[in-house]
Each structure stands twice: as structure tokens, then as C-alpha cells.
């Protein structure tokens, strides 16, 4: 499953995409994120996978801000920590 967490508002589109078929639920991204944006959940189909926490879903532009001095930064802690390459950012 391709899970898109985030939002679109007047200022742009901000989505963190998690490919749950690639994610093995190892939790390295949770450890790596300095803002606690990610967590490991059991989804509706009983897969243990990473997800963006409810708390951060509607403010990831700001939550992820400290790791992104500018848009299109790709060597983010969460992405670097994910060995299966399951995480991507839209902005």
C-alpha cells in the first residue's frame, strides 16, 4: 500500500509517502526522526509498518522544517535510515 500522509493547503502540497509493501516495520526511521513524526503501527490489514503520527499529519511542513533548510532536500534522517527505501517526501 502507498500511504500518503500530509495535506495540501494554500501554500503547497506536503506529503510523506510510505510504501508499506517495502516497509518491514524495523523502526529505524522512528529512531532517526528528531521530531517524533513517525511511529510503528499495525494497520487495518494487520501489517506492522511505519506511519506519520496523527499529531503531525496536519503540520508536517513545520515538523519536518528543521531537517529541510530548503525544499527537495533528499538526505533526510528518515529517508537515510530506511534500508528498504520505503519513505519519500513530496516537497
Amino acid at each position: 500500500m502507498i500511504a500518503n500522509y500530509g495535506y495540501k493547503d494554500g501554500s503547497g502540497e506536503y506529503f510523506i509517502t510510505l510504501d508499506t509493501d517495502r516497509c518491514d516495520g524495523c523502526g529505524q526511521c522512528v529512531e532517526a526522526c528528531p521530531l517524533g513524526v513517525l511511529e510503528i503501527i499495525t494497520d487495518d490489514y494487520y501489517n506492522v509498518v511505519a506511519a506519520v503520527t496523527e499529531e503531525h499529519r496536519n503540520k508536517i511542513k513545520y515538523s519536518c522544517g528543521p531537517c529541510k533548510p530548503t525544499s527537495r532536500v533528499r538526505n533526510l534522517p528518515c529517508i537515510s535510515a530506511c534500508k528498504p527505501g520505503a519513505i519519500s517526501h513530496s516537497w
Partner: protein
């Protein structure tokens, strides 16, 4: 306070040809959203009864009311339902539900059952969110995106415009199509600013239907960008209250070049149908079958 134009009609339905006996598998789904709540009862997986109501601020109370109304006159009581799943924003507050499942999974499964197994893309425009979902041939979610940060492109936005223009919500869609040519969309992406922009257009002498058309057009543009992010694969089903707005449906179909499937049931019940189907699966699992 004058007439409330935003108020849409609540609905209730009982199957004329499905009979309930004590031996049947009876499951239910309750979808408690931000502006509406639905309860759906299935007998052996077939649609038996449903209700669709406007909600108050109390999720538990809304769930109870929707369930009571669905049960009303059916001869069935809450104790006769063997498994209940809650979904929607208020899903954790459904007092009688045995499990909560996200509205994403429930809408995919419900739309797949209501609109047929050819459904691959589901657009749900609810009261205060917009969901774009893709599913496989079994109704399982393969991709999803949800926007609940902003009221633009949601049912509530349309309700605000109905009140502003003093046009009943059910007539907004048809009126928006009664324009000689499509006006440019309102430029604001925010409902509050779009409302002030519309007031300015009315003062400038625009007829109501042209203003509604401009708003519908802006809303469709917004919804289409979300759909395009996940990619549209035929067939398409539109659920939620906005599916009843022909002005949005027609414009969206034109924009993405694909016709949406129709259903004989209330398109607002898709989430609750999915929840009731999940309840059936869970019940069968707990009984050790399959």
C-alpha cells in the same frame, strides 16, 4: 434565524426482500463523521437497513442515534447484532463497536461492494475532508491520500455557499450547470476567502448560478489535483455527500475524462457498508471459520 439552506435531507432505508432470522449472520458498521453519521446493518452480508443523519458534537450520541434509526421498525434490536465495527473521525467513540477501522479501508471495501468489483479509484468527499483511494479487485486499499487540513474541496465548503446564496444545498449542483458558459473559478483556495470573493461577485451583479458555477469549478480543480497525485484508474466511484452534487460530479468527469459509476443506494453510506463487511469478516474469524 431564517431558513438553513445547508441542511440536507437525512435518509433511512430497509431492504424489501431481505429477511432476518435468528440464525443469520448479522453485522453492522457505524461511520461517525464530522457532519454526518451512518449506520448500516447487513444480514448474511446483504444490505438490510441503513440510516444517514446529520451529527452533533457528541460522537457517541451520534452513533447511538444513527444505529437506533437504522434499527427502527426492523424488529431487530442492538443485541441481535453479532459484531459492530466503528469508522470515521469518531470511530473510537462508538460505544457499542467491538473494533475501530480507519475510514480509508472502510470506504474502499464499501465502495467495492456498492458500486461493484470493477471499482479501482474511490473519491470520498466528506463533510470536512477529501479522500482519494485506489483499491485492488478485492477492495483492499493499494494507495490513499487524505486531506483534512483545509475545508476547501469539502462538503462543508458547499454548505457555506448554500447559506451565503440562500439556495438549498440539494439544488446547488443543478443551478451551477445552468450557465451559458463556464465562468472562471473563484481564485481563493480557502472557503472563508472564497466566500468573501463570492460576495464581491454578487455585488458586481453576477447571478447566483454563475457564482455557484465559479465555486464548483474551483472545488473540482482542488479535488482533481488530489486525485492526480494518486493517479486515477477506471472505474471511478464517488462517495460522500458531494456525490449527490451533479455540478461537481459532471465537472470532475469532464476534467479527468472518466465517468463515475452510479449506485442505487445513498452514496454517503459507503464507509459504514465497509465497516459492516469488516465486522462480518471479524465475526467469521472469531467463530473459527475460514
Amino acid at each position: 434565524m431564517g431558513e438553513q439552506y445547508w441542511k440536507w435531507a437525512e435518509s433511512r432505508w430497509t431492504a424489501p426482500d431481505v429477511y432476518w432470522t435468528k440464525t443469520a449472520t448479522v453485522t453492522a458498521g457505524v461511520d461517525v463523521g464530522s457532519v454526518s453519521a451512518q449506520a448500516v446493518i447487513l444480514v448474511d452480508g446483504k444490505l438490510y437497513a441503513y440510516s444517514n443523519m446529520r451529527t452533533g458534537s457528541d460522537s457517541a450520541e451520534s452513533a447511538r442515534k444513527a444505529m437506533d434509526w437504522a434499527l427502527k421498525g426492523s424488529g431487530m434490536g442492538l443485541e441481535d447484532i453479532q459484531h459492530i465495527v466503528g469508522t470515521g473521525y469518531g470511530r473510537v467513540n462508538v460505544p457499542f463497536a467491538r473494533r475501530a477501522i480507519t475510514e480509508i479501508a472502510c470506504h474502499a471495501r464499501g465502495a467495492h461492494a456498492m458500486y461493484g468489483p470493477s471499482v479501482r479509484t474511490i473519491l470520498d468527499v466528506g463533510g470536512q475532508d477529501c479522500k482519494a483511494i485506489r483499491c485492488d479487485a478485492q477492495g483492499k486499499v493499494t494507495t490513499f491520500l487524505m486531506n483534512d487540513k483545509c475545508a476547501a474541496g469539502t462538503g462543508r465548503g458547499m454548505e457555506v455557499f448554500a447559506d451565503l446564496l440562500a439556495v438549498p444545498i440539494t439544488q446547488m449542483g443543478q443551478m451551477s450547470l445552468e450557465v451559458a458558459e463556464e465562468p472562471p473559478p473563484v481564485s481563493s483556495t480557502c472557503v472563508v476567502f472564497a466566500k468573501s470573493e463570492a460576495s464581491a461577485l454578487l455585488r458586481a451583479g453576477w447571478p447566483k448560478n454563475r457564482v455557484i458555477a465559479a465555486y464548483c469549478s474551483a472545488m473540482v480543480h482542488r479535488i482533481a489535483t488530489l486525485l492526480n497525485r494518486i493517479g486515477v484508474e477506471p472505474d471511478l466511484a464517488i462517495t460522500g455527500g458531494i456525490a449527490k452534487n451533479i455540478g461537481i460530479v459532471k465537472r470532475l468527469e469532464n476534467k479527468i475524462g472518466l465517468k463515475a459509476l452510479a449506485t442505487e443506494y445513498d452514496p454517503q453510506i459507503a464507509g459504514a457498508v465497509g465497516a459492516a463487511l469488516f465486522a462480518k469478516t471479524l465475526l467469521e474469524k472469531s467463530r473459527g471459520g475460514l
